[in-house]
């Protein structure tokens, strides 16, 4: 129950994000979710897209450093306490969140939380055991 995520190295200079989105648009690749992590000198763009391999190939051909990693997507009701319920489980299990981001799906009833944990297998097992809904990449694209 993992979702493939694309990570792209961003040098801190103007026009880089625009260049990435241009390449994705030209190749008819749809972005489902994204986050940018930044430091003073560089950034990392993380993307969940409908065509992972094509995105990786075309961005790489465009001169970018691209990585593919696995993340966990948890679907929770879009209401107060939705995220808290997940993080409580994570904390109790002694897991660490390396980073996370979130989006609300089209119907507006559920939110999708994207996590990168230090111990992915343990996290998946724990969340499933507690009855959380984990989405696949295909399911995210179908939302």
């Amino acid at each position: 129950m993992r979702v493939e995520q694309i990570a792209v190295f961003l040098e801190n200079k103007s026009g880089r994000l625009a260049e990435i989105t241009r390449i994705l648009a030209e190749n008819d690749i749809n972005i489902r979710a994204l986050s940018v992590a930044d430091t003073a000198d560089f950034g990392i763009l993380r993307l969940i897209v409908d065509k992972v391999d094509l995105a990786k190939e075309t961005l790489r051909a465009g001169g970018f450093t691209v990585g593919k990693t696995n993340v966990v997507a948890v679907e929770v009701p879009d209401r107060a306490g939705g995220l808290a319920s997940v993080l409580e489980v994570v904390h109790e299990a002694g897991l660490n969140v390396e980073y996370m981001y979130a989006f609300v799906n089209r119907s507006g009833t559920n939110a999708v939380l994207i996590f990168r944990f230090d111990e992915m297998d343990k996290a998946i097992a724990m969340l499933q055991e507690k009855g959380f809904v984990l989405l696949t990449g295909q399911q995210i694209c179908a939302l």
Binding site: A7, E11, A37, I44, F64, T65, G67, E98, Y99
Partner: protein
């Protein structure tokens, strides 16, 4: 004033006959005692007896930094280690230092050439000399120190660093002469401003600056900010350290070479042919009087010019122009010699790092700042910030470890480093020299 007037004002013919006598003795000694150099002479079929005039110098093989490295650490010493009383070392191209040795006579010689240089800058025994060159393996601190003592002036052995304390001591002790790298002199000027010390409170009169390239603009800045006359000194550890050549207070351009000890040539770095006076090329030195570590035709890689026109001070010694650059890619960062190959060596030692890098040198205020740009390959890329940050810290620490220079490490996108004619441009020096 001169320290040894009878030598410094000799007519050329008198000086040249001293040089020839010393050169002939040197070549015999090298042939007898230094096997690697004997092998070089044998390879080109030159015997010590073939050196009959100074013009015959060109028959002798060159010595290069590679020779020093190949014979690391003591392989080129001409005396038994029992006679060597001190060693110094400077950074080498791939982590191996360049090691030099001195007998008691060499130390005395060094003190005397340094005293002669100080005298050229008007320093006398009445002076309080603030020596801010680094003490240690680097030749700057101790080389200057012994010269100041030989002159009979008072030396304050400050070494580098702790600028605030330097300023306090300079004011309280009444330092009249400052010895430091030019960039450190500017650093001290800033520290004075920070400490609220005005130049009128100081007794500083003259600054003697070397060990790194500096421009005329920088000289004016040093003179203005410290309220002193700033002069240039030249030296390199292989030849002896500071004390090879010195600008006098009369010279409009260039430094007098103490050529009764250090015989200079200018060569074309491509054809290796000696060039006439006035032409620009690579500076080459033969040490005429050193015992432990003499060198014949050592290629300094420094680009300069020699000229014989008489100087207002009355010295007949040949002068060399301010060094205009290097024939190799050596950088001098805050007085430390840095070769791009050393940086490459560090990068290649880190798992996954590809040799796509660039060194950018800038000046922040008066301090040199070295940034190392490293292209992020997929091998080292991560979706986690901390992994990339740890990588930059690791590179920074290893460069500091190897070179003794703190640098900034900047990760850049692949293929963003300029490549000219398919070859990467390794160094971008944005300092205005």
């Amino acid at each position: 004033m001169m320290w040894v007037e009878e030598i410094e004002t000799l007519p050329r013919s008198g000086l040249e006959s001293i040089q020839l006598k010393r050169l002939q003795a040197l070549v015999h000694r090298m042939y007898d005692k230094v096997a690697p150099y004997r092998a070089k002479m044998d390879a080109v079929g030159v015997k010590p007896g073939d050196i009959r005039s100074l013009a015959d110098l060109r028959k002798l093989p060159f010595t290069t930094k590679d020779d020093l490295r190949d014979n690391y650490p003591f392989g080129l010493f001409a005396t038994p280690m029992d006679d060597v009383i001190r060693v110094h070392a400077s950074s080498g191209t791939t982590g191996k230092s360049t090691v030099v040795g001195y007998t008691q006579a060499d130390i005395d010689l060094w003190a005397s050439v340094m005293a002669r240089c100080l005298t050229m800058a008007g320093v006398t025994k009445g002076d309080m000399v603030h020596n801010a060159y680094g003490y240690g393996l680097f030749t700057g601190g101790l080389g200057a120190h012994y010269g100041i003592e030989a002159l009979g002036a008072t030396v304050i052995p400050m070494s580098g660093g702790n600028s605030k304390r330097q300023v306090t001591i300079m004011r309280d002790f009444g330092s009249t002469v400052l010895l430091s790298t030019p960039s450190y002199a500017l650093n001290l000027a800033d520290a004075m401003v920070d400490a609220g010390v005005r130049t009128e409170e100081l007794k500083l009169r003259v600054g003697i600056h070397g060990a790194e390239p500096w421009s005329m603009n920088m000289r004016e800045e040093v003179e203005r900010k410290l309220g002193i006359r700033a002069v240039d000194i030249y030296g390199l550890s292989e030849i002896i350290g500071p004390g090879v050549a010195m600008e006098c207070l009369h010279s409009e351009r260039g430094m007098h070479i103490l050529e009764d000890n250090f015989l200079p040539e200018i060569i074309d770095p491509d054809t290796l042919e000696p060039l006439p006076y006035g032409e620009t090329g690579e500076l080459v030195f033969t040490t005429l009087t050193k015992e432990a570590f003499p060198l014949i035709r050592y290629r300094t890689k420094d680009i300069s010019r020699l000229f014989l026109e008489p100087c207002g001070c009355g010295r007949t010694l040949i002068r060399m122009e301010k060094v205009m650059g290097r024939t190799d890619d050596m950088l001098i960062i805050r007085g430390v010699n840095v070769f791009p190959s050393q940086v490459e060596h560090v990068l290649m030692g880190i798992d996954g790092v590809e040799p796509h890098y660039q060194i950018e040198v800038t000046r922040d205020g008066s301090l040199d700042v070295m940034s190392v740009l490293v292209e992020v390959s997929e091998n080292i890329f991560s979706d986690e910030i901390k992994v990339l940050e740890n990588l930059t810290k690791k590179i920074q620490a290893e460069i500091k470890d190897m070179l003794g220079v703190t640098c900034k490490v900047k990760l850049v996108e692949p293929r963003s480093i300029q490549r000219s004619e398919g070859k990467a441009q390794r160094v971008i020096d944005r300092r205005t020299i």
